[in-house]
Symmetry: C2
Subunit: 232 residues, 2 copies
DNA sequence: CGATCGGTTGATCGGTCTCAATGCAGGTGG
DNA sequence: CCACCTGCATTGAGACCGATCAACCGATCG
């Protein structure tokens, strides 16, 4: 029975039964971690990779003045640190947002997987490329779109990714992001996030109630946000 | 005699003489292309990788309303499309900024290199990680810094990267970026770029004269921009 | 010589920030 | 069981950064 990680990789590259069992074995050393625990701190050397098998987390960079930019969020199946070639210093921090079951993989195991399983190697390349692509999209979003569209785009992205892992039903999903978190993803203020959220509700693009957001008409939201479907 | 590409990869991973010669052979099919020619168009399938051996280029995404976000710029030694696992659609366009000598590498050659030269494979991973890291930094820059610091940061980055390839002397470098280009990197307007450029000169952080920019005191600029040295 | 392109400057507008107050819910301790 | 505290969402008023629009300049090039 493939876990979320295997399922994700299979979306990019076809894997054999052997590949799958290798991956499952490699991610069998799991651990449940509490919300808001640091999986990784910017500047640390990273001697383990980790895979989120359930729960949410996000990655962020800090400025010296205390500003924070969230550069990515992780949903079940996502991983980080799989690719460190040499043991370099992390260039962002990672913290969990909810309780997460995460699998830790040692550098040696990764090297072994890469060396002997070409399809797995490809799959990991693919996932790294996906991350790069996602960063390009975020940069464009933050750099070019006005705040309402920017938030709308983010919500499109969230819905797509959560749908891909079966965590959204009928355009509705639940994620414990605070308005400050949204703000730090989008490069705006939490106050402004609040106003925009209200505004998007007012023009009937979405509903939100505490931690659950429901997109009424995904096509209309996509259109509003100029969201181009990505290959999740 | 290693070319710019080999020199770049060697900054990340130690290569043997054989690795180097393989790489040189793989990048021997070069071509000189004129400024402002498209190497790749967003949405196209990419059947070649290319390596910039001399000259500058940049990568950008377009919005449907015509806005443009430059997501990366390429200096000699940089490459793109090396990693395409399956032949996917490009998620940004690439155009040359100056005359460039670029080497085209076929998918087969890449696969062959990767399969038989583990150090080269590592080096390419490393360079992909570098790109990811650079995107994170850009996202943080655009998302969190006010415009003057944002521009200052970009100039720090430019100087670092150009120094790394020997294209800067005494904090001075030459690059044919128009103010509109700077603007599209930073997510601001060309008019505002102009004013900020003036402002940074006024407070003696830099000089610029047509296409050459000279940083008077790199440490002071770094400090102003909150620039953390990266591993180029 | 006129045309074009990019840089410069000014005036004004508006989106987003800042600061501050208020509300609201959950958790804790008396 | 209530009083308080804390964290987060909300709302308003005012300020400011950066956008917009428009004019002008200077260089380059046919």
């Amino acid at each position: 029975m493939p876990n979320a990680f295997v399922r994700k990789l299979q979306r990019g590259v076809e894997l054999t039964a052997i590949d799958r069992s290798r991956l499952i074995e490699a991610t069998s050393r799991t651990q449940v971690v509490a919300p808001y625990t640091n999986l990784l701190r910017e500047g640390d050397v990273q001697d383990n990779a980790y895979v989120i098998l359930s729960g949410f987390a996000y990655c962020f960079k800090l400025l010296t003045n205390g500003e924070r930019q969230i550069v990515a969020y992780l949903v079940p199946g996502d991983a980080d640190g799989l690719y460190g070639v040499t043991t370099e210093n992390a260039d962002y921090s990672v913290v969990t947002l909810t309780p997460c079951t995460v699998a830790f993989i040692s550098r040696d195991t990764i090297d072994d997987l890469l060396a002997h399983n070409p399809r797995i190697a490809r799959a990991l390349w693919w996932s790294l490329l996906l991350e790069k692509s996602s960063l390009c999209a975020s940069l464009t979003n933050v750099g070019q779109r006005p705040a309402p569209q920017r938030l709308a785009y983010l919500l499109c992205d969230l819905l797509s990714r959560l749908q891909a892992v079966g965590l959204a039903r009928n355009g509705s999903f639940e994620i414990p992001l605070k308005q400050q978190d949204f703000a730090d993803i989008l490069g705006i203020t939490s106050v402004h996030t609040c106003r925009i959220l209200k505004y998007l509700q007012k023009i009937d693009l979405l509903l939100h109630d505490y931690r659950t957001i429901t997109i009424v008409d995904f096509d209309r939201l996509k259109n509003y946000a100029d969201f181009s479907p990505t290959a999740y």
